[in-house]
């Protein structure tokens, strides 16, 4: 189980300290097609295998994280602050 989640700020912590929001998807532009927004807000793929999720370290540093988790093994490959992109640079 993904019972210990590595927080980039606090180290390994139990999943009870976190709130899970779900898939970390690219947000459409504000003026994007309603279908794109429908897709972003409501439709989920429920993938098998590794994918990215938003986790909030509610009882810790209170930062939003992007956690790369495998849905079959619950193995966590990586985690980063949601304010950073995959290279570690802040989002524009």
């Amino acid at each position: 189980m993904a019972s210990l989640v590595p927080c980039p700020h606090c180290g390994a912590r139990p999943k009870e300290e976190f709130t899970i929001r779900g898939a970390a998807l690219a947000r459409p532009l504000a003026n994007a097609d309603p279908a794109a927004w429908m897709d972003f807000v409501y439709l989920r793929d429920n993938p098998r295998g590794r994918y990215e999720e938003h986790w909030h370290h509610t009882a810790g540093c209170r930062r939003w994280l992007v956690v790369t988790r495998d849905t079959t093994s619950h193995e966590i490959a990586a985690s980063r602050d949601a304010a950073l992109d995959t290279t570690g640079a802040p989002h524009p």
């Binding site: 300290e17 009882a59 930062r63």
Partner: protein, 183 residues
Amino acid sequence: MSDFRITPQITLKTALQGCTRLVSRTITLEALPEGHVLHVLGKPGEPLSMARLEGLSDGTPHAVRAAGPGQWFIVGDRAKTHSELADLFAAIQPEAFGVDQSAGRIRIRASGPMVERMLAKGTAADLSLSHFPIGYATTTLIGHIGAHVTRVGADAFEIMVLRGFAQSLWDDLARMSGEFFED
């Protein structure tokens, strides 16, 4: 900062009434004076230097604690006046904002050779001296209660908790320490 001078009028009664100290050979729990607790909120990635905040604290060791990226707590045993708070909050702007939490958070000191073993019953944070050195601070769950934990000595921790949870956390800590009070 609020113009309402609410401190210390709403704290006439201490949060931990009747449970101020529990002592055994291996564990000591004590409620610390309800002085000041100031939350400093800066921007993650553009950190204020800890040394600068230490210059604004009362100068006691570990008076400034990290509380997540870009955030700190400044604590002390003496209550601050409204004008002292206003001066301090003005001194950290514009890089950060200060919020007076003196009436909102309670500090408990746990010390003794068995303190790591006792706290490990309630939290999953790694408390070993190599991972959690003196001066390191973090926010974690102790049981179901969120608490800010600072290591202030090799065998001593300070636990800061929201006022309404203080009595409940004290009872939990006392129960977690129970086996060390039997000798």
